[in-house]
Amino acid sequence: MTVPPEQLMGTVTAESGIAGQATLDETRVPSRRRVVWRRFVRRKTALAGLILLALLVLMAFGGIHLTHWKYTDHDFNALQVGPTSSHWFGTDLTGKDMFAATMRGAQKSIVIAFLVALMATGIAAIVGSFAGYFGGWLDRTLMWVVNLLLIVPSFLIIAILSPQFHSFWLFVLLLGMFIWQITSRIVRGQTLSLREREYVLAAKYMGVTGPKIIARHIIPNLASLLIIDATINISVAVLTETGLSFFGFGVQPPDISLGTLIADAQASATVLPWLFLFPAGFLVLFVLAVNLVGNGLRDALDPTSGSSR
């Protein structure tokens, strides 16, 4: 306790002691955000994924203005034609422009995916951290629910409930409510070890309440994990949504999503391949891009994980 404050300051930097204040100014410590960004960009696949993702989102939301066709239009002069200069992705049996339809479907799928991922990660963070921090009966109950939901595939539950929701928001809510289970278990595991850290114990003995500790200390320390998880959840969400929509359990007509487009194209996929290839290609590229970004983020945020998935 006899160390003068200047020296204490000095010990913070890499070159401590003698030069003191002077070196503190010279050794510029890059901010965490910069470090993470540099690590992310260094991986070519991650950067490629990010660029691809940006292009696809831009295409879905901006591309729709490049053509004068709307997804509801029917061009009766061009039924079932392949890609042409007027219809870039061709048309279907009713003369619907596939480019406009694919972009519209992609918009729907992308919006749903982002909303659902955000919600699912939020639920996982809350459930996992509460179960891990408080332990006891709360932990047992929550983890029991998680196990139960893992036994019945969530796909099945959403499908069973599908006749009940004809509203878009209800569908999003339901999707978000059923894909958080595995993450919540990971969050719980991390919380169990965080809860024994000195700063958490200090806060606890100072009388800070549990929920406040979770909000101030536990969740911020799990930020990396949660960011990575939210990214991966985007691809889970888009796959679940398109799968449900494929069977007619998801996005309802007159709305369209990539899933309903692929379902419509299925019967004629061998004869009119463009009906299938464009929506399916967009979907695969989107999921691929999201996964690449997710992996890049994992390596950048958590280099010790040693994972290259």
């Binding site: 196990n147 139960l148 893992l150 036994i151 019945v152 595939p153 796909f155 099945l156 539950i157 499908a159 069973i160 409930l161 599908s162 006749p163 009940q164 595995i182 691809s235 796959l239 398109t242 799968g243 494929f246 069977f247 007619g248 359990f249 692929i262 379902a263 299925q266 996929a269 061998t270 391949p273 299938f276 399916a280 979907l283 695969v284 590229l285 999921v287 691929l288 996964n291 040693g306 994972s307 290259s308 998935r309």
Partner: protein
């Protein structure tokens, strides 16, 4: 070990019971079997509708819990109830179970084995061309939904058949009803129909496990005990197999249970697209057809399969990991 497994089994049975009950209640609230009798021409009187539906325990005017009670007492006696048209759910399930069973069994086992083998191999060959090829392939497959993969393979089969001028790959149905010849001709025909759906399911399962197994193996490869095993004179392959692979298998086996549910969902797409009349297809048609009892029976089937997979997982982990056996 026995005591541990028994405790797990009881726990799983309770979970299956609750999961199935939950599915029944959700389905009973959500689906509307009455729709089959409404709007018919000539119209069916409401009293007649009620009579028919009550007979099958599908009447939405009966309170849900009362219907649940009737359903449960039937299920305890091994009867999953009636479809909306009065046919027995049991006979439908009994027929379709084996259809899905062969698909799921072959797909899961092949997918699991190929995935684990490929993952371990890629880890040993890290950053060489074999690893790059396998990892990239799995990564692309992981981004490909089951329905896209199934349709792609179907289109590819049709194009290939067209190019060869002969139907090499069957791409629809379980068998050819007009197949002539004896037992071997029929058997070959069925096998041929099995190829594409199985390839779809295998690829789905394998891609998932492969990436996971590769990571688990990489974590282990650098560890001290693998080096010690080499140092004490074990051959490279023996050291890898006995010390590295064995440890790296544990996390993958744990993942396997959850991937089983994923494979079932994959099978719903595969069956629908390839025209197989299995449980996956039944799930879709019964939800579309507002058939509460059938939906519940399919859910029970899935829950039991996941239970079996979890139980199998516990046994395998017990064999692989001595700490579990002791604990």
């Amino acid at each position: 070990m026995g005591k541990y497994l028994a405790r797990r089994l009881v726990n799983y049975l309770i979970l299956v019971f609750i999961a199935t009950s939950m599915a029944y209640i959700l389905a009973a609230v959500s689906l509307n079997p009455r729709s089959h009798y409404e709007g018919r021409n000539p119209p069916v009187p409401v009293a007649e509708q009620d009579h028919i539906l009550s007979q099958y325990n599908l009447n939405d005017k009966t309170p849900v819990l009362e219907r649940y009670g009737t359903w449960l007492s039937d299920v305890v006696h091994g009867d999953f109830g009636k479809e909306y048209n009065g046919q027995s759910v049991n006979s439908e399930i009994g027929r379709r179970m084996w259809v899905s069973g062969q698909l799921l069994l072959i797909g899961t086992i092949l997918g699991g084995l190929i995935g684990i083998a490929a993952g371990a191999y890629a880890a040993v060959k890290q950053y060489r061309w074999q690893d790059n090829m396998l990892s990239t392939g799995s990564f692309v497959l992981l981004a490909t939904p089951a329905f896209v993969l199934a349709i792609l393979l179907q289109v590819a089969a049709v194009k290939f058949n067209g190019a060869v001028g002969h139907k090499v790959f069957e791409y629809s149905g379980q068998y050819n009803p007009a197949q002539a010849g004896g037992f071997f001709a029929h058997f070959g025909d069925r096998m041929n129909h099995l190829v594409l759906p199985t390839v779809t399911l295998t690829l789905l399962g394998a891609s998932y496990l492969m990436l996971y197994q590769r990571n688990a193996m990489l974590d282990v490869l650098g560890s001290d005990y693998v080096r010690t095993a080499r140092a004490k004179g074990l051959r490279r392959t023996t050291a890898l197999r006995r010390h590295a692979l064995r440890t790296a298998l544990i996390p993958s086996v744990t993942l396997f249970t959850y991937s089983f549910a994923t494979i079932f969902v994959g099978a719903t797409f595969t069956e629908t697209i390839y025209g197989w009349h299995g449980m996956g297809e039944l799930l879709v048609t019964s939800i579309q057809g507002n058939d509460t009892n059938t939906v519940t029976a399919v859910t029970a089937f899935v829950a039991v399969l996941v239970l079996l997979a979890s139980f199998l997982q516990d046994i395998i982990v017990g064999i692989l990991d001595p700490r579990v056996r002791v604990g």
